[in-house]
């Protein structure tokens, strides 16, 4: 049944909010939101009651009800570690990620194949990162604008830490993403319109990955129930 309760997790020096959106017997599901979003996004874009088990949604550090990282230092690997703290709490869980949460879901699925039977990667904010290799001239040219953004807090104050922008411009090499995809058990990638980032294109080519086209407008809960629980004969021997 649809419930909402919150669990506090201590990750390094930040306290994270892990929300239980649904409490039920069955396989748990963990939701990872996009950059500058929060766990609240999931209630607007799908129905937790459509999933047969418990549904959890974390607020990444710097977002929603979680603490901000003093002095910044945000990057997708830290978000993946946020999500890993949730796995420590929940145990084995299917994972759905949107935007930067999709990239974090990939890292988690590759590093914790024993805990993540399958992950669903959705479009969203922070999906692309800063490209497949560093563009040092662009970094140098864009520096003053970046510094102005970081040192002039917008009014009204945003619900997220402005420093999370560093988790938007980090380099995401395709071979790095592929290394994680190679060890993941199952990845379902929901293609968006337009050009996909290079890391995404590389992941789609891995044996564990299945691409779903023309589905970007469907709700996350519909996609999760339709695709995550299907056993993969090649990988799971089912």
């Amino acid at each position: 049944m649809m419930t909402s309760s919150m669990i506090r997790l201590e990750h390094g020096r930040a306290t994270l909010a892990l929300h239980r959106l649904r409490d039920a017997e069955g396989p748990p599901l963990l939701l990872l939101h996009g950059l500058r979003g929060s766990s609240a996004d999931w209630k607007e874009s799908g129905d937790p009651d459509a999933w047969p088990g418990s549904v959890y949604a974390i607020d990444f550090a710097g977002h929603g009800g979680s603490g901000w990282l003093r002095g910044g230092g945000y990057h997708p690997e830290i978000f993946a570690a946020d999500a890993d703290l949730a796995l420590e709490e929940i145990g084995t869980a299917y994972v759905v990620g949107a935007g930067v949460g999709a990239y974090a879901a990939l890292l988690l699925a590759g590093a914790r194949p024993d805990l993540v039977p399958a992950a669903l990667l959705l479009p969203g904010r922070g999906l692309d990162g800063g490209g497949g290799h560093p563009d040092f001239f662009a970094f140098a040219r864009g520096f003053d604008a970046e510094l102005r953004t970081l040192t002039s807090p917008p009014e009204p104050p945003p619900s997220h830490d402005p420093l999370v922008r560093h988790a938007e411009t980090d380099v995401r090499p395709p071979e790095y993403a592929s290394a994680f995809a190679e060890r993941a058990r199952r990845l379902i990638l929901v293609a968006r319109d337009g050009v996909a980032p290079r890391w995404w294109t590389a992941v789609v080519e891995s044996p564990a990955a299945e691409a779903v086209h023309g589905a970007a407008t469907r709700s996350w809960s519909e996609l999760a129930t339709a695709h995550l629980l299907v056993a993969s004969p090649a990988r799971d021997g089912a």
Partner: protein
């Protein structure tokens, strides 16, 4: 409390102040005439601004010398998490706080970050001196475990394991006495006297009820990302300011790299000159402060 040790030629900073940088207060130390042209000094990993207590007074004869403790180091505050771009931003903020272009000097990690800062803020930097901050060799430094042959996801799982316990890892072990810190540090600085090591170990540690504890944040030890040594030199291509590339001549912990590799990397720097300090290893300014000062004084504002 143990009184501060003295060392021949070492001079405590004449002034100190705080720089607010993206939510963290950084300690800044100064020597010399506040009206003189500024030189900014950036220390290396796990060091602190007071390692310049011998070099800085030698430069202060002509310059306003400004050394800072990077976040998580020395007397600066600890951050929740650390990243290279944030440190680079801090250096640029320090430069801009001086309100006139400065000469920028960095050692090791501080040299590499100073180089990135100079590439991003060319109008704030007059000249750049990089002291053995040319990054690890392609295969990585052994000391940082970079040569692990484990697949990336396995190494990331180890990082995740560490992060799961990170909230409880807030301090280093305590040492009984400052001589234990000297014993620890002498392993990476075998050519330095115990007297000199004791001097800057004292400023790099805190005497507590439990014993002596390094000031640097233990969370600095672990990070994870896709960064690779092959990105170092191409990152220098946008530099507009001239770089003096300084190394010692003695191979030890973190350098110098083979000269062929240094030259390959320097080939990306539009305006680079090369200097060597004979008899010094990686910690050039600690081992040969007088000779290092001579090299800098001959090059800065030339």
């Amino acid at each position: 409390m143990t009184p501060a040790p003295s060392y021949p030629g070492a001079l405590a900073p004449e002034r100190a102040w705080w720089l607010e940088s993206l939510g963290v207060r950084l300690r800044v130390h100064e020597w010399g005439d506040p009206g003189a042209p500024p030189v900014v000094l950036c220390h290396g990993m796990f060091d602190h601004g007071r390692v310049f207590d011998v070099l800085a007074p030698l430069l202060a004869e002509r310059f306003r010398v400004v050394a800072y403790d990077a976040r998580g180091h020395g007397d600066s505050e600890w951050a929740s998490a650390y990243s290279w771009p944030i440190d680079v931003i801090s250096i640029v903020q320090l430069l801009r706080s001086l309100r006139r272009p400065a000469h920028l000097v960095g050692h090791s990690r501080g040299g590499a970050q100073a180089t990135d800062a100079a590439a991003r803020a060319p109008v704030d930097v007059r000249q750049l001196v990089n002291i053995d901050g040319f990054g690890p060799p392609p295969e990585g430094f052994d000391e940082f475990g970079e040569r692990s042959t484990k697949p990336l996801p396995e190494r990331f799982a180890e990082y995740l394991d560490w992060r799961r316990g990170a909230s409880t890892r807030s301090t280093w072990r305590a040492y009984d006495g400052i001589e234990d810190l000297v014993d620890r540090r002498i392993r990476q600085n075998p050519r330095l006297t115990r007297e000199w090591l004791r001097y800057f170990a004292y400023h790099g540690a805190r005497e507590t009820e439990r014993g002596w504890i390094w000031k640097a944040d233990p969370h600095l030890t672990r990070g994870f990302g896709p960064w690779q040594p092959g990105w170092i030199a191409p990152g220098w291509a946008p530099l507009r300011v001239p770089m003096l590339a300084v190394t010692g001549t003695e191979r030890d912990t973190w350098g110098p790299l083979p000269e062929k590799l240094i030259q390959e990397r320097l080939a990306y720097v539009p305006h680079a000159e090369r200097a060597r300090v004979a008899g010094a290893g990686h910690f050039v300014h600690l081992e040969r402060p007088r000779e290092t000062a001579d090299v800098l004084l001959a090059w800065l504002e030339r």
